[in-house]
């Protein structure tokens, strides 16, 4: 049903149509509205036999999910940022035990400096946790991909994160065709685990595994993710026949074929990039866009096929491997290792720094002329950084820079006001 609705509310409604049986809730901005919405629906009796637990921490949330999923209940939770780090031990545990939990990540920066705004540091911190990670570009996809996520999780026996940009999507009111129960029921079969905790057939779960079998267990997690590479497009196609919408899939090309320059990115910035690139094409640039929708498993082959004719790739991402550079860029380089073309890594939008059409255009104009340094920090205030480095030169003691940078910016603002 078409609604003008907040992203979080759309996700809550979509999750409710998946007939979850246990939901663990813990507040952290910007995912909180999702679990609030679900809690309200459960209280009103709109989610069937669903248990909604207000837990004491994210570690508790994921641990409750582990217990309930292992007991055969379809299980959901959501988190962001510090919450992801706080539950991390249980995040690995859930995937290690093959429990098909679905978790929304309202993507948010990780502090300090504490910051509630959007980037991808949180889900990237869980990149190697063997969870499937699906990124969404808008709130229609956010709603739809949750429905696909339960199907996928239960098909491959791995947990799935649906990563949606905090605030930009979670708090945006847009038009969403919220999945309808009848359609969801056609797409998503009931959860029937292969093994569960049941007194009728007792099993031991979570036993210790030594060197003789550990590598094989890890390999199988990898293998299951490769299976997901096949399933994700099949599910997306089936979803499209039932719902009439293109949502999900491994990746999506927006005019990327046969273009000299291709921008690769994920999430909500795809929308902004689409209009910038349309302008650039009108101005004569040969430039296209490729959206990675399944970050884990990473569609290496599909990406390299899609970019076979590109002369240059610019990877734009909202995360940073400190001391190395772009994280998504590293994956793209790996996938395109057979192409000898320049691949630029651009890191932007950290901690919610606005990504505008203007600043993207400025960066991409340089990019198409091979003028980006490696890696390129998008919209970095270079003067502020220089001044802080200058200050630090005389102080040979350790300490944080966040406060003095804020003072510097506040001072510069005051000076600018004074000079007006």
């Amino acid at each position: 049903m078409l609604q003008q609705i907040e992203g979080s509310a759309a996700v809550a409604q979509a999750v409710a149509t998946c007939r979850p049986e246990v939901i663990a809730a813990y507040p952290i901005t910007p995912q909180t509205h999702i679990v609030e919405g679900l809690g309200d629906m459960v209280k009103r009796g709109l989610v069937g036999n669903c248990e909604f637990l207000n837990v004491e921490s994210e570690f508790g949330a994921m641990s409750v999910c582990i217990g309930s999923s292992a007991t055969g209940a379809r299980t959901y939770t959501a988190t962001s940022s510090q919450g992801m780090l706080f539950m991390m031990e249980a995040v690995y545990n859930a995937s290690g035990m093959g429990l098909p939990i679905v978790m929304t990540v309202g993507n948010r920066a990780i502090g300090p400096p504490i910051n509630i705004w959007n980037d991808w540091s949180d889900s990237m911190a869980a990149r190697d946790a063997a969870w499937i990670q699906l990124f969404v570009e808008d709130n229609q996809q956010a709603a739809d991909v949750h429905v696909q996520a339960f199907r996928l999780a239960e098909a491959v026996s791995l947990p799935v994160m649906v990563c949606m940009d905090g605030f930009i999507l979670t708090h945006a009111y847009t038009r969403v065709d919220v999945p309808e129960q009848g359609q969801v029921d056609r797409f998503l079969p009931a959860f029937e685990p292969r093994q569960l905790l049941d007194p009728a057939a007792p099993i031991t779960m979570g036993a210790m595994v030594g060197p003789e079998a550990f590598a094989e267990v890890r390999f199988l997690a990898h293998y299951k993710q490769l299976e997901a590479l096949d399933l994700i497009p099949r599910h997306a196609a089936e979803f499209e026949t039932i719902f009439g919408r293109d949502s999900g899939g491994l990746l999506k090309s927006f005019d990327a074929a046969d273009k000299d320059t291709v921008v690769v990115s994920m999430g909500s910035v795809i929308g902004t990039l689409k209009s910038v690139l349309a302008d650039m094409r009108q101005d004569g640039s040969s430039i296209g866009l490729l959206s990675i929708r399944s970050y884990r498993p990473f569609p290496k082959q599909q990406l390299s096929d899609a970019l076979a004719k590109a002369k240059r790739v610019i990877v734009f991402e909202k995360c940073l491997a400190v001391g190395m550079g772009g994280i998504l860029a590293a994956d793209v380089r790996m996938a395109l290792a057979n192409l000898s073309i320049p691949i630029y890594s651009v890191i932007g939008g950290l901690g919610g720094r606005p990504i505008t059409q203007e600043n993207l255009r400025r960066m991409l104009d340089k990019g198409v002329q091979d003028q980006l340094e490696e890696p390129h920090f998008h919209d970095l205030n270079v003067e502020v950084v220089h001044r802080e480095l200058e200050r630090l030169r005389d102080i040979q003691r350790p300490g944080s820079s966040a406060e003095s940078i804020l003072r510097d910016i506040a001072g510069a603002d005051a000076a600018a006001r004074g000079s007006r």
Partner: protein, 339 residues
């Protein structure tokens, strides 16, 4: 101070020369079913616990009793620790009930998740037990445990208290008693062993949550242990049972002395046996045959240094713990009456 209800059996005798209460001396209801063919043996033989492991003994009685009380409809969540490691050396498992190990500090929450799933799926006939060592329960698992308590999740949580992190090689936990030697509270310097004013009572913390049932028990009295498990299973909601389980390896006691050490702990006042319902103390087990704290300490090498003349203040501090327990829980009611 409330005393044992009239209906409950007062144990009159120990078997001559031992610290063992014989089955024959007890009500039918309180007798252990060790030898019965109906015994579940939910924790099967062949596991890897050390000789004389109090935790293995305690867990076997707890889980069997819980299984009986639940008509075999029981699921267990287990924290990382000796009990987990010695029972599940893959691909073998000593457990004969559905059992899950997830992490060191989350067994209470995993139990809560199991209970929630069972409720959602209309299987409230299936009961849930979660269990772990003192470290997994009273240190790293404290947040999850308190969450289960305050939400009143339908979980019986059992803490096997052997007073240190045994599985990692005997390090200090919040249950390690004052002066005790562990690998991280060594016999060195002017204050050998564990610090004097540390630790916490988790049964009292559990009571402060007002949960339906809290009890302490010890492997020195398996009948009492079993009957407390059965009683706990009679309640719905969050329940906490702490079982005193000597660890010969960590305590430096003889494996053959496990029951004796446990008995001396209760009879010296070092480990009070109490029960509470909805935050109110409802019963204590009085000391029957008071023993000096020294008798308890002497059987354990972890306390050997407190007998050195220069450490007499440590011995005093341990005696004071026993005195405080006896006063606080009225463990010697007759003495109080006569004084």
């Amino acid at each position: 101070m409330t005393q044992l209800p009239e209906s409950e059996q007062r144990v009159k005798f120990y078997q001559t020369g031992t610290f063992t209460v014989g089955n024959r001396l007890l009500d039918e209801a309180q007798r252990s079913v060790q030898a019965s063919v109906e015994r579940a043996n939910s924790l099967d033989s062949g596991h890897r616990a050390c000789q004389g492991c109090g935790e293995a003994l305690g867990a076997r009685y707890v889980v069997d009793a819980a299984l009986r009380a639940a008509d075999d409809q029981l699921i267990a969540a287990n924290a990382t620790g000796c009990l987990e490691v010695f029972t599940t050396p893959y691909p073998e498992s000593a457990w004969r009930l559905p059992w899950i190990h997830s992490l060191f500090g989350n067994a209470p929450a995993v139990g809560a998740g199991i209970a929630a799933a069972l409720r959602a799926r209309g299987r409230e006939d299936v009961r849930v037990i979660a269990q772990g060592g003192d470290g997994g329960t009273t240190d790293i698992g404290m947040g999850c445990l308190s969450g289960v308590f305050e939400r009143d999740d339908d979980v019986l949580y059992v803490c096997y208290n052997n007073q240190a992190y045994m599985n990692t090689g005997v390090q200090r936990s919040s249950q390690t008693p004052p002066a005790a030697r562990t690998a991280t509270t060594t016999i060195a310097g002017s204050a050998p062993g564990n610090g004097l004013n540390s630790g916490k009572s988790v049964p009292l913390i559990a009571m402060a949550h007002g949960i339906p049932y809290v009890a302490t028990a010890s492997v020195d009295d398996l009948h009492d242990l079993e009957s407390k498990v059965v009683k706990a299973m009679g309640f719905r909601g969050a329940r906490y049972l702490e079982v005193f389980v000597p660890c010969p390896l960590g305590w430096g006691s003889r494996p053959a002395d496990t029951i004796k050490v446990a008995r001396l702990a209760t009879q010296s006042g070092m480990f009070p046996l109490i029960e509470a319902e909805y935050g109110e103390l409802t019963a204590v087990t009085p000391i029957r045959d008071r023993r000096p704290v020294e008798d308890y300490l002497k059987l354990q090498r972890r306390f050997a240094h407190v007998f050195a003349p220069e450490n007499v203040h440590q011995l005093e501090a341990l005696r004071e713990i026993a005195e405080r327990n006896i006063r606080r829980f009225n463990l010697l009611p007759d003495e109080e009456a006569s004084s």
